[in-house]
Symmetry: C2
Subunit: 158 residues, 2 copies
C-alpha cells in the first residue's frame, strides 16, 4: 500500500476474556454457533463510557486480530476450501487492517466488565470499540453470495 | 489512557464518496433514514480483495471519524438531548478509537469501486475495512435501551 496515505493509531479500550486459547478451538465454517460466554474487560478509567449500556440486549464489538500478521487479498477460508474469495468478501483474519467484528449478547455488567455470550475471539484479544446493536437488515432482504452457495454444497454432500 | 498499552496503526483501504460535505447534512436522530447513494472507492491495488463481493446484498463498512477529535466518555447525542449516555452505549463520533460502523446495500461494482445505498458518512471518509453482512439478530430479540425510550418520548410529544 502506498506510504503517503494517512494513518490512524488505535489503542485497546480493553481485552476479551474468552474460553479460547487457540484459534483451532473456535467454531468456524458451516453451521458454526457462537454460544461461548466471556467478558469484555474495559480499562477501569473508561468505565463511565458504559453508562446506560445495560439496556441493550446485543452489542457490536470491534477488535484486533492481534495473533494474525500480514494480509492476503484472495484466500480460501474454512467454509469453502474449494474456491478462494476476496478478503473483503470474507471474514478472513488476514486483512489489510486486521479488525474483527462480532455481535455478542449482553448478559450483565460488573463495573468496567461486561459479561457476554457469543464470543468468537481468543482470550486476551484487544478491543477497539463497543457499540449498541440497534437493528439489522430483515432476513428476507439479505443475499449471502458464495457463503450461501458453499453451505448448500455442503448440505448436498451430507 | 495509559501509554504502555499496545497500539495498532491502521491505513485506509479507500475512501467514501458521499453527497454529504458537512455533518449537519447527514440525517441523524429519531427516524433518520439513510437512503443516500454513494461509493466505496478502494485503492486500485486492493481490487482483488473484492473478488466475489457482488453476491452479497449488504456490507459492513468500518471507517474513521476523521473530522472528529478527542473523545468524551459521557455526552448527549441528537436522539436524546435530555440525558447524557456513555460513549459505548451510543454512536457518538467522539470515541476513544474513532471508528464508525455502517451497513450499506451493495448496488454494483465498477472495478475497485462499489456503488452503495445507505451512506451516512461524509465525502472523503477513510475506509478501514469492508465485510460481508451475513445475518442479523432477529428483531424480536433486540432490546434497544435508552434509544427506544427516547424514541417513545418523542412520539408522545408528537
Amino acid at each position: 500500500m502506498s506510504q503517503d496515505a494517512p494513518t490512524y493509531v488505535m489503542r485497546p479500550i480493553g481485552f476479551v476474556r474468552s474460553p479460547y486459547r487457540d484459534t483451532s478451538e473456535i467454531p468456524k465454517g458451516p453451521g458454526a454457533e457462537h454460544r461461548a460466554e466471556g467478558a469484555l474487560a474495559l480499562r477501569p478509567e473508561l468505565e463511565d463510557g458504559l453508562q446506560d449500556i445495560e439496556g441493550f440486549s446485543h452489542l457490536f464489538v470491534l477488535w484486533v486480530f492481534d495473533r494474525s500478521s500480514g494480509y492476503e487479498l484472495v484466500s480460501t477460508v474454512p467454509l469453502d476450501q474449494e474456491t478462494p474469495h476476496g478478503v473483503f468478501a470474507s471474514r478472513s483474519p488476514r486483512r489489510p487492517n486486521p479488525i474483527g467484528l462480532s455481535v455478542v449478547e449482553l448478559l450483565g455488567r460488573d463495573g468496567p466488565r461486561l459479561r457476554v455470550r457469543g464470543v468468537d475471539m481468543l482470550d486476551g484479544t484487544p478491543i477497539l470499540d463497543i457499540k449498541p446493536y440497534l437493528s439489522g437488515v430483515p432476513a428476507e432482504k439479505v443475499r449471502r453470495g458464495w457463503v450461501a452457495e458453499a453451505e448448500a454444497r455442503r448440505k448436498e454432500k451430507g
